[in-house]
C-alpha cells in the first residue's frame, strides 16, 4: 500500500492505496463520491472525467498512487455554497440530459472549458467535449447548454 495525501473538492484526505487502484475506484469506493461514473473503463466515454490540478482527466486511467499532493475536483465540488454553477443550471434549463449517466463528466469538461475560454465557438465546444459520450441526447442540447452557461458566465 502507498500513502497519499490528496485534496478532493477542497477537503484533504490521507489514504493508503493499493498500486492497482484507479483514481476512479478510490473516489467512488473509498471516499464514497459516487457522482463520478464508470462507463467504459478504458478512456473512451468520459463518464469518469474529473479535474486533476485544474485539468480534465479520465479517472479510470489514473492510478490513485500517482495522486499524492494533487487537487481533485469532482462533480460534487462544482456547486459552491449550495448554489449550482452556471453549467449545471444550463443543463437543467435546456434539458441537456436524459438518463444522466454521462452528465457528471460533461459538467466537469464543460466547466474546465469555460474556465479556459468563456466564449467558445460551437466547434471548440464540440472538440473539447469529444471525449464525453452521450447515447441519449444527440448532443445538440448539451452544446446549447454550454453556450447558455457561457453567456451566464459572461453576464
Amino acid at each position: 500500500m502507498k500513502h497519499i495525501s490528496m485534496t478532493v473538492n477542497g477537503d484533504q484526505h490521507e489514504l493508503l492505496v493499493d498500486p492497482g487502484w484507479t483514481l476512479l475506484e478510490t473516489l467512488r469506493d473509498n471516499l464514497r463520491l459516487t457522482g463520478t461514473k464508470e462507463g467504459c473503463s478504458n478512456g473512451n466515454c468520459g463518464a469518469c472525467t474529473v479535474m486533476i490540478d485544474g485539468r480534465t482527466a479520465n479517472s479510470c486511467l489514473v492510478l490513485a498512487a500517482e495522486m499524492d499532493g494533487t487537487e481533485i475536483t469532482t462533480v460534487e465540488g462544482i456547486a459552491k455554497h449550495g448554489k449550482l454553477n452556471p453549467v449545471q443550471e444550463a443543463f437543467i434549463k435546456d434539458g441537456a440530459l436524459q438518463c444522466g449517466f454521462c452528465t457528471p463528466g460533461f459538467i466537469i469538461s464543460a466547466t474546465a472549458l469555460l474556465q479556459r475560454n468563456p466564449n467558445p465557438t460551437e466547434e471548440e465546444i464540440r472538440t473539447r467535449l469529444a471525449g464525453n459520450l452521450c447515447r441519449c441526447t444527440g448532443y445538440d442540447k448539451i452544446i446549447m447548454a454550454v453556450e447558455d452557461a457561457a453567456a451566464m458566465l459572461r453576464g
Binding site: 487502484w21 484507479t22 478512456g43 482527466a57 479520465n58
Partner: protein, 288 residues
Amino acid sequence: MPDFDFAQPTTLDEALELFAGSGEIRALVGGTDIVDQLKTGRRNADLVVDVKRIPELQRLEVTGDGLHIGAARSCTDVGEFPAVRSDYRSLAESAMLIGSWQIQNRAGVGGNVCNAAPSGDTIPPLLVHDATAVVASASGRREIALSDFFAGPGQTVLQKGEILVELVLPPIPDNSASAYLRFIPRNEMDIAVAGVGSFLQLDPSNNAVLKARIALASVAPTPLRARAAEEVLEGNVLTDELIEVAAEAAVGAATPITDVRGSAEYRRELVRVLTRRTLAICRDRING
C-alpha cells in the same frame, strides 16, 4: 487490475536504479496506454514507475541546440508551448488531435513514442523534424536518431534498464514549415487509418527544395520516413507536378495491412492524398 508495485522517484538517478532491477518494469507517464494495457493483460508489470516527478523528464525549453521535450511532458503542454506552435507546427497539430482533451492532458509525447504504436500521431512530426531520443540507464546515456528508435508494433530499441529522458528537435531553418494530417472516418477520438507528416525548406530565390522530410504512420509495422519521396523533392523546384511525383514515391514506402480501419489499397491511396496535402500546406505556410 493485476498486482504490481509502484514507485514515484524524484530524481533520474533514483529512477535508473529502479529500472536496473529485475522483472518487468514499466514507466508511467499519462497512463492512457499503459493503465489500459495492464487492465486488459496486453502488457504486464512487476513494477510501475511514475516518472512524472523527475525534473529532467519535465524539461520543456528551447536552447541553442533546439527544442527539448522531457519524456514526461503531456500532449497539452507540448501542443500549447509557444515555440512548438510557431516553429514545429506539425507537432502541435498532432499533439492536439490524439484522443480527447482528457487524454491530451495526461498522455505524454514521450509516452506516445515509447508505446511505439504504428499509428502514433506525434511520431511523424517528430521524424520530419529530425528528432533525437536521449535515453539513459544506470550504466550511461546514449542518443538515438528517432528514425532508428522503432523495432516493430509496440517495440522500440530501448534495452532493459533504459528509459527515454527527452526528445531533442534541432532548430528550424529559415523559410521552412511542417504539417501533419491524418485520416479518420469521423472528426475526433479515433486512430489514424493513415497519417502523414511533411517538412519543407525552400530557397526563397527560386522555390527550390533545400530540404524535405516525409514520414508516415499507420501504413507499416512502425512509423517511418519515406526517403525516396524526400529525394524526389530535394534539389528541385517545387511545383504541383513535383508534389505529385513525391506523393507517388511516398506510396512506395508504405507497406500497409488490411484491417478493420481500412484496406491496404485504401491506405496507399491515403498516403498519396495526405502527402500531397501536407506538402501543399508546408508551401503555403512558408509563403505565408
